[in-house]
Subunit: 340 residues, 2 copies
């Protein structure tokens, strides 16, 4: 397995080190190439993602990314120029984000039942396309626009992926989240595509919810959800709500998939670079380890993925929720459990 | 006080009846004009908001609205043609949504501390402008767009309003919520305006959060917020998250304000028409009554507003959370408390 590794900024390198520890424990054939991308490189050289690096990344089976972002960099530079550029260039149209409440994990919800959702967020369209602009900047007449672009091609492939996942799950239920009553053009497209693709999956029951209502039900009744499919920006928000109710960002894993297999997929914890705790060895690497599980599953290494997931599930069920996290200790434990 | 009343659809007329009961108890000079707008009128006549009705509405001091929406109407028709048309035509640029956890109300959060936020959502711009379109509809080459429009004029007036509210509150804290790292054009405008206006309010401390992070902190640490200011769509979502953690949509009030006073402002519960429970007399009218409190406050009738708010606070602190709501009984109790 040829893995490109982008530790990135802040706690990125700390959590990635533990992710690799666990990965090595189950996949001894691992070959890694580290890539120095992120705030430091930009500060030093002005480079974000050189084309030559992008070409090299393409030669790998998958990419593991820690976190990108630093307060010293103006907002948008690293996000648009590096993280989103990777997602767009590598056609990561499926942003896969499971949100499961593991045994032993304390949800902020008082009566959290069994939460087990799989959020399928579109990754290459919507308001993330970077279309938009500013007129008369810095004047009282300034106008700024952002354009959400949605194509039948782009929506159909992610909706199809969501149905394919839903049909393999016990509940076989899919919820489309959008805002069709306000964003009628984009919402119409999404609704029609879901309706059309649903014909091919008669076993899957389909529901629709507006994003505002869904954000509420994620809190008041998260157990009702199985698979979710939604647009890029709504997905960004609702997956953080889902993460919050299932124990927080320390456990939220994600995969940026090119489901066609043409380009390497990229796996990353949902959390950011957390500069406030960087360098202290107290970041929870669990989200990265769960992302490694998604990586293995994506590469067809289901048995290895199962070992990683089982290690995390066991560890969480036995962790003392009040104990301080020690990044390396968690990684050691998980590697021992997964490899043993 | 000349009040235009739009009961609307579903439970709208039920909750509005109780809102008026309470309003009459504290403001005996109330004169109401009912307006029959909503799904039934559209089904019967094809009319949504005739210009003559809009002209009449303008002659009132304020508008009380129940709820708009019915599953028999395609998504967007009533929302765009009636509710949003009202907000846009009457220049309701401040969408005010308090989210307070009242004593006696059970939050779904296990350790909810004292939550008391005031969300100031922009109401006439952003992705709600209805700019966008569809190309090659219903073909595999379909493209659908939505444009978010943001102007310095529009952002500045709502940001200023938020600062003016923040400076009167004990904590004097304001959080801007946006997604500046992805929506760099609109986000840049919002950030710069907040920075500029903040100079005039040195007592107000200012924070910024991305909408995804904020949606999480609303759940894991809602006590940290005081006043929030945000764009139309983000405001739609985060205010529902805020409502969820403070006891749900049955308690979420809102005001659509033309803060300049040129047009009548409109007050409405955040919840929808709830066709599933309409006609049964079991809808909670509390959100409407709290909206009546916002209405009175907006019209400068602070003493009357205080009576309404105090009635709700007392009633909630003594309600049996397991008892079934009876719409009229709640209204009777609140009217007696407020008027007595
Ligand atoms: C950092 C940012 C660009 C990114 C996003 O908005 O997609 C992050 O929030 C995420 O969810 O992965
Ligand atoms: C019904 C809909 C158009 C409306 C909105 O999105 O603003 C509602 O959700 C609200 O929050 O008042």
């Amino acid at each position: 397995m040829r893995l490109a590794v982008i530790p990135g900024d802040g706690i990125g390198s700390e959590v990635v080190a533990e992710g690799l520890k666990v990965l090595r424990a189950v996949a001894p054939d691992l070959e890694t190439t580290p890539y120095d991308l992120g705030a430091a490189r930009w500060q030093r050289t002005g480079e974000l993602l050189p084309d030559t690096v992008l070409d090299e990344l393409r030669q790998h089976d998958a990419i593991l990314l820690g976190a990108i972002g630093d307060p010293s960099v103006p907002p948008g530079i690293l996000e648009r120029g590096l993280l989103l550029r990777l997602r767009f260039e590598l056609d990561h149209h499926v942003n896969l984000r499971p949100a499961k409440l593991f045994d032993g994990v304390r949800s902020p919800l008082a009566d959290a039942g069994p939460i087990d959702m799989l959020c399928v967020r579109e990754g290459t369209e919507g308001p993330y396309v970077g279309n938009g602009g500013v007129l008369r900047k810095d004047t009282p007449q300034e106008v700024a626009t952002e354009v959400s672009l949605n194509t039948a091609f782009g929506v159909e492939r992610v909706v199809r992926y969501a149905f394919e996942r839903a049909v393999t799950r016990p509940r076989k239920h899919l919820t489309l989240i959008h805002k069709t009553n306000v964003l009628t053009h984009a919402g119409g497209l999404w609704s029609r595509v879901v309706e059309e693709v649903s014909v091919e999956f008669p076993e899957v029951s389909v529901a629709y919810q507006h994003v505002d209502a869904a954000s509420m039900f994620f809190i008041t009744d998260p157990c009702r959800y199985d698979v979710i499919v939604t647009d890029n920006l709504f997905g960004d928000i609702v997956t953080d709500v889902a993460a919050a109710v299932t124990g927080g960002i320390g456990l939220a894993a994600s995969g940026n998939l090119d489901a066609s297999g043409t380009n390497p997929s990229m796996f990353e914890p949902v959390h950011g670079s957390a500069p406030d705790i960087a360098g202290q060895g107290i970041a929870d690497p669990t989200a990265t380890v769960l992302s490694v599980g998604l990586l293995l599953e994506h590469l067809g290494r289901s048995e290895q993925a199962r070992k990683v997931d089982a290690a995390v599930a066991f560890d969480l069920s036995t962790r003392d929720p009040r104990a301080t996290i020690r990044t390396a200790e968690v990684g050691d434990r998980l590697a021992a459990l997964a490899g043993g």
